[in-house]
């Protein structure tokens, strides 16, 4: 099955190096790395994984192979940003995953970082959140700022 990116109920904003995607149906925000964005934008259902690897190489000028693309597709799928695509998780052995990560210079940077858009009530002062809905935790590597301790106020 050739990968097809999901485009419905999404709003995307291009930044110089990344793409921010808001999922209106799930109230999540994703930050796609340059690599993930290049792959996601090219997944029109007609291109193979090898085609995508070539596209990434051409667009970014950095080496990308099949494993690297599969890894990115897996991340995009986890973020609910794909309609269809290859079943990737079992296909990539851990050594291949490490190779792919290294090739894509991703050792310290996530392909897709995600947060949950909190309901407004989650921003109420502590102890006064009423019953308007609750805060939802964060996902991905962008850890949130809640729960800090040690300093008072604010």
């Amino acid at each position: 099955m050739r990968p097809l990116a999901r485009k419905s109920d999404l709003f995307a904003e291009n930044l110089p190096e990344e793409v921010i995607v808001y999922d209106k149906s799930r109230d999540k925000v994703h930050c796609l790395s340059k690599t993930a964005a290049a792959i996601w934008e090219s997944c029109d259902g007609t291109k193979s994984v090898d085609d995508l690897a070539q596209i990434v190489e051409a667009k970014l000028g950095a080496p990308a192979d099949r494993e690297a693309v599969l890894l990115a597709l897996e991340e995009l799928k986890k973020a609910d940003l794909m309609e269809a695509g290859p079943v990737t998780a079992p296909d990539i052995a851990s050594s291949s995953r490490r190779d792919a990560m290294a090739k894509m210079a991703l050792a310290s940077s996530a392909l897709v970082a995600t947060i949950v858009a909190s309901a407004p009530a989650a921003h109420a002062s502590a102890g006064h959140q009423g019953n308007q809905g609750g805060s939802q935790g964060n996902q991905g590597d962008q850890g949130g700022n809640q729960g800090n301790q040690g300093n008072q106020g604010g």
Binding site: E17, S109, S118, P120, A121, A126, G130, N151, Q152, G153
Partner: protein, 279 residues
């Protein structure tokens, strides 16, 4: 400063003085709200209840909040808080009810303000650029802001960074709120005079500092990409669910010429010194 004018002519109860409700309509940041609260609660509310709020009884109301004083079987006071006819909760103390009303009013304005994006954050001005420290309640924003002011920065806000459509940051002109009485007193001493003057002008965003407290750590942040910087702001953006496109576009414009940093911080004074040196 603006003064909220209670309209005590409008009463909806005749059960005794402490049971009387005063209705006062105000608008702030383009949002019109009506508050109906027991008269005895008025003295507990800050004036203005939302920074920049003015008495305003014209035009359509965006949201209504009512507090009704009832009593339990044992005779204890029960403050029933209702938003647009829907019960939000019950407070058992006057102080608690006042805090709930203030919190509701500020959050409602932050959620509904048209053309503006409110991000939960502390803000100071430094070299004519805004330094924004996103974080929820109890994340230590107020303490950090006060330390930055002590270190020479201009006070803008300890609660919200208010972004306009050009990406500029407006002051949210109120006295910082701290939990410890001694800290609150110090804040009043430091900022009381400043807050009695006019608020500073809106300024462009200079940097976003994302941090969490870690004992014995020292602020040595890593530089964030623009995407991660934006994500840090969006994680604390009040109208994100209601107005995702406007929120993202506004904040993307704001960060276009700004820098973002992230890392654990230790004590606030250390953070303030290092942060300003970094900038």
């Amino acid at each position: 400063m603006f003064i909220v004018s209670p309209n005590t002519d409008v009463c909806d109860s005749n059960l005794g003085a402490e049971m009387l409700n005063s209705v006062f309509p105000v608008s702030a940041w383009g949002v019109r709200i009506d508050l109906s609260v027991p008269t005895l609660l008025l003295a507990e509310l800050p004036a203005p209840i939302v920074p920049g709020a003015e008495f305003d009884n014209r035009g359509p109301v965006d949201a209504e909040l009512s507090v009704q004083l009832n009593h339990s079987v044992e005779g204890d006071p029960l403050y029933e808080i209702t938003e647009n006819g829907k019960i939000l909760g019950i407070e058992t103390s006057l102080r608690g009810a006042a805090e709930a009303v203030e919190s509701w009013a500020q959050l409602t304005v932050a959620t509904l303000a048209k053309g503006l994006v409110f991000v939960h954050a502390g803000v100071v001005g430094w070299r004519n650029r805004a330094v924004v420290i996103p974080g929820r309640s109890l994340s230590g924003k107020s303490t950090l802001v006060l330390e930055l002011v002590r270190a020479g920065a201009d006070y803008y806000s300890d609660e919200y960074a208010v972004f306009d459509s050009e990406g500029r940051v407006h002051p949210y002109w109120r006295l910082p709120k701290l939990r410890a009485a001694s800290d609150q007193k110090a804040a009043s001493h430091l900022l009381g005079g400043i807050l009695s003057g006019p608020p500073p002008i809106p300024i462009p965003l200079g940097c976003v500092l994302i941090s969490r407290y870690e004992a014995e750590s020292s602020w040595q942040p890593r530089r964030l990409t623009s995407g991660k910087t934006l994500l840090g702001l969006l994680d604390n953006t009040v109208p994100l669910r209601g107005r995702p496109e406007q929120s993202i576009k506004t904040l993307a414009k704001a960060i276009a010429n700004a820098r973002g940093f992230e890392g654990p911080r230790g004590e606030a004074a250390d953070f303030a010194q290092r942060a300003l040196a970094l900038l």
